[in-house]
Symmetry: C2
Subunit: 461 residues, 2 copies
Amino acid sequence: MIDNAVSAAERAFEEYAELSTLKVAAFLDQIAEEIVGLGDSLIKTACEETALTADRLNGERTRTVNQLRLFATVARDGTWKDVRIEPALPDRKPLRRPDLRRTLIPIGPVAVWAASNFPLAFSVAGGDTASALAAGCPVILKAHPGHPKTSELVARAIGQAVNACGLPAGVFSMVEGASPEISLALVRHPVVKAGAFTGSLRAGRALFDAASARPEPIPFFAEMGSVNPVFLLPEGLAERHESIAEGLAQSVNLGVGQFCTCPGLAIGVASGDFDRFAAVLRSRFASTTTGKMLTPAITAAYCNAVSKIGTIGDIRVTTGVGDAPLPTLFETSAQTFLANRELHHEVFGPTAILIRCDSRDGVEQVARALEGSLTATLHGTEGDLRAHAFLLKILTRKVGRIIFNGYPTGVEVGSAMQHGGPYPSTTDPRFTSVGTAAIVRFARPICYQDFPAEFLPPEIR
Amino acid sequence: MIDNAVSAAERAFEEYAELSTLKVAAFLDQIAEEIVGLGDSLIKTACEETALTADRLNGERTRTVNQLRLFATVARDGTWKDVRIEPALPDRKPLRRPDLRRTLIPIGPVAVWAASNFPLAFSVAGGDTASALAAGCPVILKAHPGHPKTSELVARAIGQAVNACGLPAGVFSMVEGASPEISLALVRHPVVKAGAFTGSLRAGRALFDAASARPEPIPFFAEMGSVNPVFLLPEGLAERHESIAEGLAQSVNLGVGQFCTCPGLAIGVASGDFDRFAAVLRSRFASTTTGKMLTPAITAAYCNAVSKIGTIGDIRVTTGVGDAPLPTLFETSAQTFLANRELHHEVFGPTAILIRCDSRDGVEQVARALEGSLTATLHGTEGDLRAHAFLLKILTRKVGRIIFNGYPTGVEVGSAMQHGGPYPSTTDPRFTSVGTAAIVRFARPICYQDFPAEFLPPEIR
């Protein structure tokens, strides 16, 4: 089933890897054009398949198109190749130093797994596809079964860009199917030289394991979401407990909690301000009506996880209004949190756990116990930060992005973004899947020694 | 057994990770000083343990000391952190852009496995140790059992540098033992956040597998050597068959063939010049007396591998003079090479296979069949390169460094070096273990969002 796609990618690689950066950039821009050209039919189809609103999908299309154009500028600019040139030193003793020139070349055909929660921006023509294509790698895209018609539309748009740019067809292929065997066959195929995935820990880890166990292991970047803890510092709560609670409730419930950066834990020291904060947060959750989740399976998994957590010890539960899935706020103590590892894992959906600690020590203990996350957030004053220097230090060891007085949802797509953190948020915290630095996942260095300029890649001539 | 070392590394990390880059650099320089201070006793001890000559070991000490000083300059300079700053755009619509600042932070305690073949430059205070320490990571060094006293001396020198610089003792620890269980326990220890290894494919792969199968997988960079093919192009042979044969015989036999970049294959098209080249190569091998290998186990493995290859089909064998290990040149056809996968693997020691092809197509077929290597070399004229553009293209897909009219042995330690190629030469071709770029193996990005300057790492303030 995947053989045609993979063979075509292999054949296309020879030509695509040597394509000028201007042509790669033009191809990415053309994909963006073709997606814009799909017009309302794209939004309509995605609405029908995903239960996301047209507003949200319009915004996501803008992001998708912007990402493609951003990676076009990255390809055109070329500085991401980290060129290093050391000219020959013919008279060096005891030995001449040769001429050494290092650049980056594409790693080979890349398999990309589309995400359910970003049917456009992290799906067929999403960030992983854009960054792999920008690096010079053909892409074999495993579509998400949650939005097949949307995927088909976008794949056709890419196909038109391939034709318009006169590229070999295998530069982009899409494979479909819900069975794990297809994904495993893809990650194990010898032609595939890297993988990128956004989704659940279980699926991401299974694919990472298969990638690592191959006769030739390949890099596999899985972004698997995380709990994204939010720390509520005392002066911050004293100054603005209400607005922080408001913002947090919004961030948790944004897009029915279906973002990898959805904050799943909020932690602070018990106090009058903390109680007032908790009361506002509770009331916000109690009055929130949430929308439909992406798929029935995701709704079922959410309801199941939330009902399990509700049975643990002394946990207090506040739910929103309407039908399932209900927004759900849990409240518990540091002791209960520390004693129950199941509270440490992400629950995908509109839910968070508010953890009340006895002291700053308790907060630090909770922070130390956390698994790796994409983000951590601190709400407070500069005085709070000074008083919590050690907490800040703990958190930098745990996450890829750390936010002061903001919310983790809303991930900027730029050059300074880091969307990747210690396991289990990703399989390799040295890389990002969002932002321009995502491109280096799909390239490897090569050093030319003493080659005449004519035979060198243009950037190191 | 390893618990003390690992716990000490974990404690040391908190302080060492925050150390100023100037102090990290001073520490590396101090290690270099202490190693210089060991004087002749170091060379004498290493000579006794490794059978390497004093000349070679003196050169290797120079390289070791230079590597430490080079990484001190890398740490001091700081540009390796690839700082990216995107200031806030408060008026952006629909949403304000936050202030985003990205830098690199140390990944955590690093386990390093010393190599047998570089008792100084890729051992206790070798390139992996220097780059991990420069990145801000404590090192737990697994000593190679081939040179325990040398390791002890260098570890003591590092210990003195730790004291002289007032650093916590756990910044560097050494563990010893020949049993694979020690290595496995080390790579599986939850405190260890990355691994670096130089050695055999079997050991490297076993450790990589253990690193990938951990509950929290960690990056594991294994450099496992390779066949380093050399291509003999027709005009090159016509112009200088004798000097190329001379240089190749020297490169194969350098250091008793115990370099990861030792050329193990030489490939060309049958011709009168090729015959003359082969005759010179044969006569050089026949007159070469090789030295002792590093250990009796390595000698035994070499003799065993060489005698097995000698039994294959129509292979012609030329050996050197003296006692085992004998330098050994094999000659065979492209057909035999392509039909026998066992000829495609590295044999560690002073041996090479000369492959005679019927045509340029045959050469390309051999090139396509090759496994990943650290290097490939082409000998020829610019006219040859023009006529062999497709061969060059094949080779860039196979290796990390490509050499024109030179020899792969003699690896420059600079900014443009790439010492890492597709599997099985390494476990991740996106990284290098030699040269300044080796440092990024041990760091990961972190993005600070909207933080006041006071709380940022100095380089992104």
